[in-house]
Structures are given as C-alpha cells and as structure tokens.
Amino acid sequence: MSIFNKIRPQFWETGSNVGPGKSLFNYRRIWRIAIAVLAVVALVPLCVMAVIDYNVTRNSLESESLLRTARTTSNTRRTVAFFLQERQQALDFLAMHQGLEALRDCENLGRVLDSLKSSFGGFVDIGIINDQGLQIAYIGPYDLIGRNYRDQEWFSNTMGQGDYISGVFLGFRDEPHLVIARKIVDEKSGKSFILRATLDTEQFNSILWSLDLPKGGDAFIVDREGVLQTPSRLHGSLLTQVSLAVPGYSEKTSVEQIVDKDGTDLTVGYVYIRGTPFIVMVVKKTRELMSLLQTIRMELMWLMAVSIAIILLVIVWVATYMVNKIYIADQTRAQALHRMEHTNRMASIGRLAAGVAHEINNPLAIINEKAGLINDLFEFKEEYVHDERLLNNIKSIIDSVQRCGKITKRLLSFARHIDIDMDAIKFKELAEEVIDFLRKEAEYRSISITMDIPENLPEFISDRGKLQQIFLNLVNNAFQAMNDGGNLAISATPSDKDSLVFTVRDDGCGIPAEDKKRIFDPFFSTKKRTGGTGLGLSITYGLVQELGGSMSVESEVGVGTEFIITMPLKAPEKA
C-alpha cells in the first residue's frame, strides 16, 4: 500500500461528493474509460495483426515443407527409377549386342558380368534361362545352373510382359537382393530366353541413405504390400511390414499428412515407381518440419508480450497524466470560481454594510441633533440647567448615539476599503480594526488577545482590504483552533529594511505534521463535515502572494500554531 500511496495520482482520493459544484467529473471513471478505450484501440489491431502474421507464416511454412517433401520424394523416385532403368537397359544392350549365342558361353558371360560390375556396379550375378524355365547359363557366386524356375511367378510374368523387376527378397542366398529379367527372342531358333541378373541392394540403399533429411526424417522403399524393401530408420527393419498404411496408387508425387499410431503427426511423401513393385516413401515428422514455426511463434509471443506491456504502461501513464491535468484544471477552476464568489460576497456585504450604515446614520444624525438641541436649549436658556436628571438622560441619549455612530463608522471604514488598491498602512490600526470585529466573540469565549506592535513600526504600502481579509482569516482560524480561554498573540517586527514580519500565534489544537504541507492546498480541510470549504488558508496564501509577501507556518499538536507573514514595505508593481 505504501508504494501505491507514493505513485497514487492526485485525483485518486477525490470522491464525487466533495461538494456541490466543486468537481464536474468523476476522475477515476474518466481514467478507467481512457485506459480501456486506448487499450482497445491500440491492442486489438496489434493482436489481429499478430494472429494474421502467425497464420500467414504457418501457411507458407506448411506449404513450403509439403513442397520440399514432394521434391525430395520425386527426386528419390527419379534416382531409383533411373538406377533400375539403367540396369535394364544394360541388359537390353547385352541382348542386342552380344546375341544369345555369345551369352550362353559362360566364359563370355563372365567377362560381361565383370564389365557390368565395373561400369554399372550393383550386379551380383547374371544368367540365362530357357523357355522351359531351366537355367542354362550362369555366372556368379552360386551354383545355379540346371535350376528350374518354370513354376515361379516371375518366370511367367517375364515371358508374358518381356521384362520384370522383382521386389527385394532374401531367397535361398539369405541376402537381400532383387532380380531384373528380360525376355530375349533368339533370331535363329525363334525361341525365347530370359536374361536374368541379380542386383545387390547396397547401392539401392545408399541412394536413400544419402538423402539429406531433417531430424526424425526417414526415406525408404516399400513394395505394394507394404513390405520394407530398404532399411528404415524408424518404421521397421528390412523386409518387415512397414508401420504405416500403404498409400493408394499414384504415379505422381503426393504428400499427405497423417497421424502415426503413437500419435505423432507425420508428413508423408510417396510415389509409385512405374513398372516396378516399389513405392518410394519419404516420411518426416511434421513437428520437426514446423520447428521453425515454434521459434517464430515464441518470438511473436515475446514481441507481443513486451509490446503489450509497454503500450499498457504508456497508456496508463498518459491517462494518469491527462486526468491529473484535468483534475488540476478543474480544481483551479473551482478555486477561481470560489474566490470570485468570495470576492463578490465580500463586495456585496461591503455595499450592504455601507447602505445600512448610511440609512442608520441619517436617523442617528437627526436623533443626535435633536438631543443636542434639547441639551443646548437647556444649557443656553438656563431654564432647566439645574435639573440633573433631565440633563443626564439627554447626555445618555447622546452617548448612545455616539456609540452607534462609532460602530457604523467602523463598519463603513471596513466596507469602504474593499475596492481600494494601494494605501499607506499602519499595521497597528489595521490589526485593531480587525480585532474590533472579533472582540465581542473573544469576550464571550474569554479569549485573551495580546498585541505586540511597536509604535515606531514603519508604514508600508499595501492593499488595505486584502490585508484586512488576510488577518481576519488568520484570526478567525486561530479562534476556531482554540478552546475557550485561549491566548491569541499578534506581533509585528521589522525584519530588514525592506520588509516587515507579522505573526499570529494561538495556543490551540495545532496542526499534525502530515497535514502541515497541505494546509495551503485548495480544498484541503479537516472540517469538511462541519461545513469547511478548505479554501480559507488557500485564499489567504493567494492574497499574501498577490501582495508580494510570503507566508509560513509553525505548529505543534497540542501546543499551538504560529502563522508568519513577511510583507514587503513596498507592494510589487501590478502586472
């Protein structure tokens, strides 16, 4: 709470019930509305833009990652297809160039295999099978001559279609390999033969392994039943069923986003290689692909959070500043209004007093003259001069009239000075005038008033009406602070050659230290409940300043309060 007290804006504590006409606005409400409106106007577009930006980035990242997957897949397909096609064409070339007779010669076939190995690579063995399915020539690491393949599916397929590429299988060699075969028709005999070569999957695998895939990425080949033809990093080992669903037939590269069995989002690119049982699959983890998006999202969030914080701070600061300004302006306005009202009231009272005094003075003058005349008649005619009772009565009439006259004259002199400006003032006279007004109250409350004003105090030039008001306010204040039977002391001393110091001291309740710095603030009052406006001292302070003086206060709770006013001997030039 203490921190809040320090930063609390001035307007915070002002309720709307300070007093009629004193505050036009509910400052806290204005403050809240200002903050809300500014925050909405500033933050909504920011948030909308951030969301749009995030979506645009995500979409473009997504499409880019899909595209990249598609490209990788399609490149891989092309490489694999080319690899197989190359070797098929090598067999074509052999068949056309060498002819069947030459190939049946095992020695020649051995040379051919050697040159195939050195030029193309990947060939393991090569052999020729006649139309009965019998292996009639073979060169390779195994002894296969005389084996009959007639009942095997690939044999009939090759005989039917002309060429054949098998899936990867272990066979009786117990090593993964695949077979490519080609039908050759012997020109001389017109019989069909099959040229069959085995490829190791080493090169095949290396094509896929060499792909540059992001973390969690995987590229492999499956056959149409979903059996892995090359080892996969994550989705099963060689020649086992792949853990993913086999996609539908598509000769064009397709990319799909699927959810794995264990719930990971995967981006799968696949394509069927035409004329083979192979499907190239490139599998990437969507999350890894989109990891850049995470970074962007984090950055965006940070930026948002920091911007919102700064914007809110600025908004709160601006709103507080503006409302404070409004508050101060409003207070100044109310103060000015009140002062005008006060001055007007003083002037009205003055005019009223003057009018009343005048009206009373005339009949008083008549009473005075008539009584005087009676007195004169008695005295000069000497008829009733010895009638003491009559003369005493007349004397008391005249005395009373004189007393009335004194009162009305004082009233007049007070009222008269309301609209005067500069005048040479003897402070003693002024203080007595002021005290005269309150002497009765002081008597009733048995407050003793002591005045310590040296006779030789220099006169000073100032506005008598304002000075009267200043001292009247201070003495009134002192009276309110004091209990019955208190002491009020007014003193004056010349401080230096240019100024005089006046003090008004009471032994009343005193002012608490925390209130002391606020007592000259407008509308600060400890008596708001009992009808105080909190303007007395602020107006007094303003008047002292107008006259070029200064004012300070010394006070101790329970001991008393002393107001010290320093006045220049010469009033400042009016601006």
């Binding site: 003057a354 005094a357 005048h358 009206e359 009373i360 003075n361 005339n362 008083l364 003058a365 008549i366 009473i367 005075n368 003259e369 008539k370 005087g372 005349l373 004169d376 008649l377 005295e379 000069f380 009239v401 004189q402 009335c404 006259g405 004259k409 007049l412 002199s413 009222a415 008269r416 000075h417 609209d419 005067i420």
Partner: protein, 116 residues
C-alpha cells in the same frame, strides 16, 4: 458672517441651524440645492455645509455651482455614507469631510478651521 446649511433632512438641518445659533453662528438652512443656489445669490455666505447625498442635486454638484459663483466660499461636507470615492472627492475639495452623526463640537471646529 453667515453660514449656509444644505441637507435634505429638514429635521436635521433645522435643529443643526438652531444649535449653531446658540453658539453665535448665524446659519441659514435649506433642504435642496436649487434654493441653496438662490439663497447664495442673495446672501453672502462664508461657509457652506453640504450633505453629500441629496435628491436631484448632490453635495458635490452643488459645491461646484456655488464655487463657480462664489470663489471665496469654503465648504464642509457631511455624509452618512462612507464611500471611498466621495471621501476622495471631498478631500480634493478641501478635505472637510465629516461622517454623520456629527458632534456639534467637531462641526464647530471645522467651521472655525474653514474661516481661519
């Protein structure tokens, strides 16, 4: 040596004239400015005691008219009203300015002062 008293309150001005006569001051009185001017034209007054506020012609106005015709005449102003401008004007016209009710002695003093 005669004195002219002008005040719209007949009761006041008549009593005052009578009281002055007891003090061997010969005073004529009237309750309005016009009569006062006529009387001043017929008789030579040394001092005129004028009320500031009178119907039709006020004290200052009357003083100007009288002063124009009788440059030697002295003036004393009486007023029940203490307005500052009146006071200043009264001072400018000789600073003999008394506020009602007036002690007959102070009026006498002022008259003596004016005559001196």
């Amino acid at each position: 040596m005669k004195i002219l008293l002008v005040d719209d309150e007949v009761e006041l001005v008549s009593a005052m004239a009578e009281r002055l006569s007891f003090r061997s001051v010969d005073a004529d009185w009237t309750d309005n400015g016009e009569t006062a001017l006529k009387m001043a034209a017929e008789t030579d007054y040394a001092v005129a005691v004028l009320d500031m506020k009178m119907p039709k012609m006020g004290g200052l106005e009357l003083q100007e008219s009288l002063a124009a015709e009788h440059p030697d005449m002295k003036f004393i102003f009486l007023s029940g009203h203490g307005s500052e401008s009146d006071f200043k004007a009264g001072c400018a016209a000789g600073c003999n300015y008394l506020i009602k009710p007036v002690q007959i002695e102070s009026l006498m003093d002022k008259i003596q002062e004016a005559l001196a």
